[in-house]
Homo-oligomer: 117 residues x 2
DNA sequence: TTAATATATGAACAATTATTCATATGAAGG
DNA sequence: CCTTCATATGAATAATTGTTCATATATTAA
């Protein structure tokens, strides 16, 4: 990220070296941050909240979330690319649903945290 | 969010009304999205990852995360405002640590999800 | 084939945000 | 008091991103 380090003295050498050597890889941290980024948008959270209850088509989701078909379609694409939802086509209609229980779990742990504050 | 609704026919009236009436409040969804937004940045995730192991001062964190003092200081402020970390001052040095177990839990569930994909 | 409907998508725009740079604050020691 | 060091912060910049608008694709029905 930076080639030049902070000019501060590293104050706690032992602790710092121990922590540094036990840090998760940049790749993993990046991927996890990207995952949470997906959850970090109200529109997408509304979509997930709705899909938690039922499989729904694009048009249903747009209505439920008070959003436009286009905006929802864009967000559904992002959610699908992130493998948080999956889709099923039936004629003209595309039905979306949550990809797995993990998604629900992350959603709920977020709610819990907010409610406990 | 929008005053004008999607022009699509709502295809599944019953399901849609049921889901709509059981949606979490916009406020809660907004707050949860804001929470995940905080986790949705690599620098902040690195900070949390480091603090998960030990209480650390700004300078330590900057070194561990290969970032600058200023960048870290800005991000620490955001994390603190979100009540994900807390601080303790000792002379010139400010020590930061995770605010509670929930933070750790959210962090870990994110990692689990990534590792399982 | 043509019209209608559900969904997808590209480009443009506006808004948000992370980092950098310069500088301010605040505490400790001389 | 003055200097040094750790941290904080304001402004500017660059990059990312969500929505909108217009339009394309694809499927069904007439």
């Amino acid at each position: 990220m930076k080639e030049e380090l902070c000019e501060c003295t590293v104050i706690h050498k032992e602790t710092v070296e121990k922590v540094k050597s036990n840090m998760l890889s940049d790749e993993l941290i990046f991927d996890v941050a990207e995952l949470f980024k997906i959850f970090g948008d109200s529109t997408r959270m509304k979509i997930l909240c709705a899909l938690k209850m039922s499989e729904l088509c694009v048009c249903d989701i747009a209505y439920i979330t008070n959003s436009t078909q286009s905006a929802i379609s864009h967000q559904l694409r992002i959610l699908k690319q992130s493998k948080l939802i999956r889709s099923r086509k039936e004629g003209k209609v595309v039905y979306y649903s949550l990809a797995d229980d993990h998604v629900e779990k992350i959603f709920e742990i977020g709610c819990e945290h907010i409610e406990e504050i």
